[in-house]
Structure formats: structure tokens, C-alpha cells
């Protein structure tokens, strides 16, 4: 049984939009204002190297598909070769290697994926997808890298949900320049 692992860069006010820059957001690239240190890099690299597949929303998928295919190295190889599932009702003929489009009911599709995979299905960015997974209690692990900045605008990771969602804090570290990592498991 696979696990859905949602991993996000967030500001103190919960904004997760365009942490790396290049998406036409006025604060784009905000995460680069802080050094996340070797431990912070390991936190991000490890979660991807350990994952079985990626699960993405269409917008994040298209950003990744434009950026990653030409890159080389161990991490890029993993990104480029691992199975990628894109939740979209409009995307056709995705060009990035090993991509499958999921256009059916989200809960059924993701439940099916969890049955077919033994390892982690990792979700990066993908605000709308992450919010829907949270609402439907499909997030098994939440990995947050919290940057010490308030942005005041931009897409928030947190939408309103119909009920509270409880987790268990399994790890918390300060890395680099005051960046805080949190690992939370579904309770």
C-alpha cells in the first residue's frame, strides 16, 4: 500500500506559490532568499529519491515538464524516469517520459494508485490538488519547509476544509538560515 506524501515550501503565512521563481508571481523565487543548508537540501533530495512516483496537478506538472527533461544528474534522472501521474481533465498527450493522466474521480484514482504502488507517491506544489487530497483525508504525510517570511499574497496551501485534520509531528528540524522543516503523519 503506497502513501501519499505532500511536500511543500511555505511562507509563514502559508503561501506556496512559485518558491523557485519563473512563474510570473511578484514574489517568485522567495525561497532562495534563505539558505536552507546541507540538511535542508538532504530533506528535499531524500524525499524524492525515496519516492516511487510523483502525483501532480496540471499546472505544476507543466512547469516541471518544461524544466526537467534536459537536466542531468542523479536527482534529475530520478525525476525524469519515475512514474508521473497528473490530475487533469484537460491534458492530452503529455510529453514527459512516463506520464499518466488521471481524469477520473480524484478519490477513486488516488485510492487505486495507493493500491498499485508500495512506496511513496510524492506531491510537490500543486495547490489545488494538495487541498483536495487534504479535504478527502488522502494525505498520509505532510512535509513542510517553512521559510521565515510573510509574503501577504499568493496561492495558499491552506484552503478551507469541512473539518479539522489531525496529524502527528514525527520530525522537526531547523536547517540553514532559520528554515524550519516539519514532518507530519496522518493520525
Amino acid at each position: 500500500m503506497g502513501r501519499v506524501v505532500v511536500t511543500e515550501f511555505v511562507s509563514l503565512d502559508g503561501v506556496m506559490e512559485d518558491p523557485g521563481g519563473g512563474e510570473d508571481f511578484e514574489h517568485g523565487g522567495w525561497s532562495f532568499a534563505f539558505d536552507r543548508g546541507a540538511d535542508g537540501n538532504e530533506f528535499k533530495t531524500g524525499e524524492t529519491m525515496d519516492a516511487d512516483a510523483m502525483l501532480l496537478g496540471r499546472v505544476t506538472y507543466e512547469g516541471f515538464a518544461a524544466a526537467w527533461p534536459g537536466r542531468e544528474g542523479e536527482f534529475a534522472d530520478k525525476f525524469n524516469t519515475m512514474p508521473k501521474y497528473v490530475v487533469s481533465s484537460t491534458l492530452e498527450n503529455p510529453g514527459w517520459t512516463n506520464t499518466t493522466v488521471l481524469s477520473g474521480d480524484l478519490v477513486e484514482e488516488v485510492t487505486g494508485l495507493k493500491e498499485r504502488h508500495d512506496g511513496d507517491l510524492i506531491v510537490h506544489g500543486s495547490a489545488a490538488l494538495a487541498q483536495a487530497l487534504l479535504e478527502h483525508d488522502l494525505v498520509d504525510e505532510l512535509r513542510l519547509m517553512v521559510f521565515p517570511v510573510v509574503l501577504g499574497k499568493g496561492k495558499s496551501l491552506w484552503a478551507s476544509t469541512s473539518d479539522k485534520k489531525t496529524f502527528k509531528l514525527t520530525d522537526a528540524q531547523t536547517v540553514g538560515e532559520g528554515v524550519q522543516t516539519l514532518v507530519l503523519e496522518k493520525r
Binding site: 532568499a33 501577504g152 485534520k165 502527528k168 522537526a172 532559520g178 516539519l182 507530519l184
Partner: protein, 181 residues
């Protein structure tokens, strides 16, 4: 000039409403020490009217035997921001009128370090006016899904430095941020 310390119980999604949802996590004694270090260096308490009225019935009847925090809340002067409250009954309370950034700057000068808790309207206004020096956030491992957030949409962009971080056995994470000039 004293420092303004804002202490909040917050969910992962940033909600800081009346924290009844924290009760089931219990109160880790180490978190008590972290908060005690903040109250210990504060010479005054600054509260919004709603939080003041919520605190009065719960703290004014308690003694140190009931709760080690009781003497701080009862004996320290409480400055209440309100345009309607006139005769506070809780001892050592002083109404300072409606929100006025200069009045609060003056308090920091005259009183020294101040402790603030809850008081969302007041805290948001002070964050916007650059009056907050430190945030002491006790982050609970749940999302609330709805409710007032410490940082609303259109909050003033600002940078902080992380001065301390500590996690407790009950799964609560204490984060101490300092505002950067």
C-alpha cells in the same frame, strides 16, 4: 525601549481563534518553561478587549496553587486596547483607549517588555505598524480548515529570523521568530 512579545497558540494553517482545540494535547511542562521565559521578562501585558474579557474569568479566580501562570496574569498590569470598555473589574487593569500605534510605542518606552496573547485584531494591527519584536508561536499538529488567521491575506510582507525552535512530546512545536528591521 522594551520589546513586544506576541504569544499565540496556532494551528498548522495559521488559525489563532480561541484555542479550545489545544486542550486534547495537554500542556507539556517544557512548553510551560518556554512561555514562562517570555512572561518572566515582561513588565506588562497588552490585550485586546475580547481576549481581556475571555482571560478575566479564567485567570482572576486562580492562584499559584491552581496554575503557576496565575500570579503573572493577576499581578502584572494589563493594558487593554478598547474604545468601549471603561471600568475593568480585573485588578491591575488599565484601559488605554482605541488602537493607537503611538500610544503603544509610548508603552514600550515606559513599561519595557510587553506580553501579548490572543488579541488577533490588535496583533494584526501591530504587525502592520512594525510594533511586534518577537513572535512566540506554539504550533499544533492539526489544520483547522476555517477560522481567523494570524497572517490574513494582504498581510504586510516582512522577514523574520528564527531565534528558537523546540518540539515537545505532545507534538507541539514552539517557534520563536524575531522581526527584522
Amino acid at each position: 525601549m522594551g520589546a513586544m512579545h506576541v504569544h499565540e497558540f496556532m494551528s498548522l494553517d495559521g488559525v489563532i481563534d480561541a484555542p479550545v482545540w489545544t486542550f486534547e494535547y495537554g500542556f507539556d511542562p517544557k512548553m510551560g518553561e518556554a512561555i514562562g521565559a517570555v512572561t518572566g521578562r515582561s513588565n506588562g501585558i497588552l490585550l485586546g478587549r475580547a481576549t481581556f474579557e475571555m482571560f478575566e474569568p479564567s485567570w482572576s479566580t486562580r492562584t499559584v496553587e491552581d496554575d503557576p501562570g496565575a500570579p503573572f496574569f493577576n499581578d502584572t498590569t494589563k493594558y487593554v486596547v478598547s474604545s468601549t470598555l471603561t471600568d475593568p473589574t480585573w485588578r491591575n487593569s488599565e484601559v488605554i483607549g482605541p488602537y493607537d500605534a503611538d500610544r503603544i510605542r509610548g508603552l514600550k518606552d515606559a513599561v519595557g517588555d510587553l506580553y501579548v496573547s490572543g488579541s488577533i485584531t490588535l496583533v494584526r494591527a501591530m504587525l502592520a505598524d512594525g510594533l511586534v519584536d518577537e513572535l512566540h508561536l506554539c504550533v499544533y499538529p492539526l489544520t483547522r480548515g476555517a477560522g481567523p488567521r494570524l497572517f490574513p491575506e494582504d498581510a504586510a510582507p516582512s522577514k523574520f529570523s528564527l531565534a528558537g525552535s523546540e518540539s515537545y512530546d505532545n507534538g507541539v512545536l514552539y517557534l520563536n521568530y524575531r522581526t527584522q528591521a
